[in-house]
């Protein structure tokens, strides 16, 4: 039952400005994902919430309580680290019990809580083991059990799935989503993986170079990206961003490739097209982008065609049955209502 509020948070190390004037409100029981490339300040932001780093300036509130300067142990948060942070000299049981032992709970209660937490992540049969004797996925689950053995005010997870293999990551993702719903604790989750962000979050906060770019629901982030950076970060494959010049009727990419769609205004622009919004033009006259196949990839459930336009790549996601050869001429039909326009200088999206 905790609302987190970050007000004008700045974090500087000598010569490096990690987080810039961050305002963020995280609602009670929300699952907020901090998303961005490495070095964008997302982990630093989480560590400031945990109390492992102090903001250079700005205020941090848990509900009405200002927590700046309060030691991590007094903030009542729990955290899952990227490298799990398990205690190598303790058994799984002792690892999970550690937070409760520090709170001097009676042994019987601790044992019951450990059993409950271990049961939730299916670890009961491994309680006697040491972390060194566990696989990556099992260690991950121990870290998770240790963080849910008590009910903290806030859950923090720092790239908890990034050390797992792809298959396990998928399973654990669903597991985390389920746990977060069940436990009803405010959660902040840091990742650079947009799939994790889109699937887990109630809201996603995207950061770049210490600056918050957009905070919204996954759906709105996908459909209404605030700027070209957000647009290019979300989606797999990412949105095509073509730099060029607009006139009354058309958009010219580089030296002369024409995209036959009307731009919002003349001058320098960025055109954004999601690969999944592109189709092959089957009837004459419907094509609005022509090119030559640069690469063709089979993904199984669909195919990817890459076209090179004056040094810029353009990717189209097509039906799984489509077959084209490299070097073939190709004609695309882009649905005009699914286009995005961005200002060439600021990168901001231009509303049409």
């Amino acid at each position: 039952m905790t609302t987190l509020r970050l007000q004008g948070i700045d974090k500087k190390w000598d010569g490096f400005h990690a987080v810039k004037n961050l305002d963020l409100q995280i609602e009670d029981r929300e699952f907020l994902v901090l998303l961005g490339p490495s070095g964008c300040g997302k982990t630093t932001t989480m560590r400031m919430i945990a109390g492992l780093e102090e903001p250079t300036s700005g205020d941090l509130y848990f509900d009405a309580q200002r927590v700046n300067g309060i030691a991590p142990r007094l903030r009542d948060v729990s955290m899952v680290f990227q490298n799990y942070g398990l205690y190598p000299h303790m058994t799984v049981r002792d690892n999970i019990a550690y937070p409760l032992k520090l709170r001097r709970q009676p042994a019987a209660e601790i044992e019951a809580a450990v059993q409950r937490a271990a049961g939730r992540v299916e670890l009961q049969h491994l309680l006697q083991r040491r972390p060194a004797e566990l696989s990556g996925g099992q260690r991950q689950r121990v870290a998770l059990a240790r963080s849910i053995v008590r009910k903290p005010r806030v859950f923090l997870m720092d790239e908890p799935l990034s050390n797992l293999d792809a298959k396990l990551r998928g399973t654990m993702r669903a597991e985390l989503r389920h746990l977060a719903r069940e436990l009803e604790v405010t959660t902040v989750y840091v990742t650079h993986d947009q799939v994790e962000a889109m699937t887990l979050a109630t809201r996603v906060a995207i950061m770049k170079e210490g600056v918050l770019q957009q905070i919204d629901t996954p759906e709105n982030i996908y459909n209404r990206p605030a700027n070209a950076f957000v647009a290019g970060f979300i989606g797999s494959p990412a949105m095509n961003l073509l730099h060029g010049d607009g006139d009354q009727e058309r958009f010219l990419v580089g030296g002369g490739h024409v995209v036959a769609v009307p731009p919002p205004h003349a001058g320098k622009l960025i055109l954004g097209v999601r690969p999944e919004d592109v189709q092959l033009a089957r009837e004459p006259g419907t094509a609005n982008l022509l090119g030559e196949v640069y690469a063709f990839e089979l993904l199984g459930d669909n195919t990817l065609v890459t076209v090179k336009l004056e040094g810029q790549y353009f990717v189209a996601k097509l039906e799984k049955g489509e077959r084209v050869k490299e070097g073939d001429p190709i004609a695309f039909c882009i649905r005009p209502e699914r286009l995005y326009w961005f200002d060439a200088h600021s990168g901001e999206r231009i509303d049409q």
Binding site: R73, P88, L156
Partner: protein, 280 residues
């Protein structure tokens, strides 16, 4: 004609025999003096200067050194008191100091650390006089406490340096984990850092004990009667009547025995810490 023998096999066999002779020669150089002391400690004064291996062994020498006027029991107690006292003070101090050097960033950290490590290289003979004067002022001459203080100055820098290496290898992650789980700094050091760096801590405790146990020059200068330790007692056996070899040998055995037992019991730990270095 029989087959010519393979010259390669010949030389490699010769080399192996040569190598073995070399190894035994070195082992002999190391072990023979110890064997000599062992045997001498069981000989009567008359037999000392003979090299014969057949003699009737006696425990008399051991009885003699523990009796008046030598009172080796008192010296043994002093040595134990000084060595254990030094280790018990030095190791906890070294752990917290090493932790601070490993984890905290403070002005002058590097200079202070280099200074502490460098202080190991000052020869004892140089500082022994100032120590003597200092203890004289404080009225601590010929006390076991004085010897503990002096030994701390030798043992602490070494222990801090060694334990810091092991604490450096403890991932910061697990300490941050513990902080968030609700542990104070003291709890983190006691329940997380010390157990993970334990091989290094044990190693430096053993090393400290050994250094203190064998320490000679400070004990020689600052102690006279009450705080005399075993190595000094050994020298006292060079009397006007000549060197009492059989008694020196017995005393030597008594000095060596605790070290021998200690090395047997902690050897496993010691080797583990030397080969392992870091804890994962």
């Amino acid at each position: 004609m029989s087959k010519p023998c393979n010259p390669g096999v010949m030389t490699s066999r010769l080399a192996r025999i040569g190598g073995l002779i070399g190894v035994y020669a070195i082992i002999g150089c190391i072990l023979l003096p110890i064997l000599w002391i062992m045997l001498t400690s069981l000989k009567t004064p008359r037999d000392v200067y003979t090299l014969q291996l057949w003699f009737s062994p006696t425990w008399d020498n051991f009885r003699t050194v523990f009796a008046a006027p030598w009172h080796l029991g008192d010296k043994l107690a002093n040595s134990l008191w000084v060595a254990l006292g030094t280790v018990l003070v030095a190791i906890p101090l070294a752990v917290v100091a090493a932790y601070a050097f490993s984890r905290f960033r403070f002005p002058g950290r590097q200079a202070l650390f280099v200074g502490i490590v460098a202080s190991q290289f000052i020869p004892a003979a140089i500082v022994v006089l100032p120590y003597f004067l200092m203890f004289k002022q404080l009225g601590l001459l010929d006390t076991r406490s004085a010897l503990v203080i002096v030994n701390l100055s030798i043992v602490l820098p070494y222990s801090i340096w060694m334990i810091k290496g092991f604490i450096d290898a403890v991932p910061v992650d697990i300490e941050e984990s513990a902080m968030i789980d609700g542990a104070s700094l003291g709890r983190i050091i006691a329940t997380i850092v010390v157990p993970t760096a334990l091989p290094g801590i044990i190693t430096s405790a053993v090393f400290s004990f050994t250094l203190t146990w064998n320490e000679f020059i400070f004990a020689l200068i600052t102690s006279k009667q009450n705080a005399v330790t075993l190595p000094i007692a050994l020298v006292a056996l060079r009397t006007e009547r000549g060197d009492l070899w059989e008694l020196m040998a017995a005393a030597g055995m008594i000095i060596a025995l605790p070290m021998f037992l200690l090395s047997m019991t902690v050897q496993k730990q010691f080797i583990k810490s030397l080969t392992q270095g870091s804890v994962r």
